[in-house]
């Protein structure tokens, strides 16, 4: 099993460009999350999903959109990238409401020039 995978691993964008980050999981987990990690700020939740076809806003959702058309995939989109979105993005999954452990992907390092 691959667990949680993220595509791409690295990306450089120019201001105003768009892109989509893909998170894929093969663990049949219901819940999926997108975080961004910035130095000295820990990880902050961008958006999350509690099941196929559902999404909700987290702590820092502005400038991002998400979709969960299939249970195994959670996409994070940047419609018009800004330098403030330079960050490392992590996807995480969680199997059930009772089991509260989240499993993290390896991350995507995004630089916006």
């Amino acid at each position: 099993n691959a667990g949680v995978t993220q595509t791409p691993k690295f990306r450089v964008l120019k201001t105003g460009q768009s892109m989509t980050l893909l998170c894929a999981q093969d663990m049949n987990h219901e819940y999926m999350y997108w975080y961004r990690q910035d130095p000295g700020m820990g990880l902050r939740l961008i958006h999350y999903s509690v099941g196929e076809g559902t999404t909700a806003k987290g702590e820092v959702p502005d400038g991002y959109n998400v979709s969960r058309l299939k249970k195994q995939n959670f996409l994070l989109g940047l419609e018009s990238a800004a330098p403030s979105q330079t960050s490392v993005y992590f996807c995480a999954t969680k199997p059930t409401v009772v089991n509260n452990e989240q499993f993290f992907g390896p991350g995507t390092r995004l630089t916006v020039l």
């Binding site: 700020m41 990880l43 999350y48 989240q102 993290f104």
Partner: protein, 116 residues
């Protein structure tokens, strides 16, 4: 709402010395508590967690953390560190209750550097 404060942004220690990484939290409801570790250029891995029961929890690689409800703390300790423990450590909480949807609130992180 919840908040997590890690009191030290960086902790340098020598190999085989003891270490304590401090974590305090604030919440109006009861919480589950976690420590995650992030090795350089990797994702986060769960180190240990407190859900209920004994307030002292241990990991397989010698770390332990104690939940102190009165002081709202969950400090991480290891009696003798190794070079391989060099990493960033994150404390995190999830509030009780189904409406939280398992959303983690993280502290700012503590970079542990173990020197030979």
């Amino acid at each position: 709402a919840q908040s997590v404060t890690q009191l030290d942004s960086q902790v340098p220690v020598f190999e085989e010395a003891p270490v304590e990484l401090r974590c305090n939290y604030s919440s109006s409801v009861s919480v589950y508590l976690f420590w995650y570790v992030q090795y350089p250029n990797q994702g986060l891995q769960l180190l240990l967690k407190y859900l209920s029961g004994s307030t002292l929890v241990e990991s397989i690689n010698g770390f332990e953390a104690e939940f102190n409800k009165s002081q709202t703390s969950f400090h991480l300790r290891k009696p003798s560190v190794h070079i391989s423990d060099t990493a960033e450590y994150f404390c995190a909480v999830i509030p009780f209750g189904g409406t939280s949807y398992g959303k983690l609130t993280f502290g700012q992180g503590t970079i542990l550097t173990v020197h030979p």
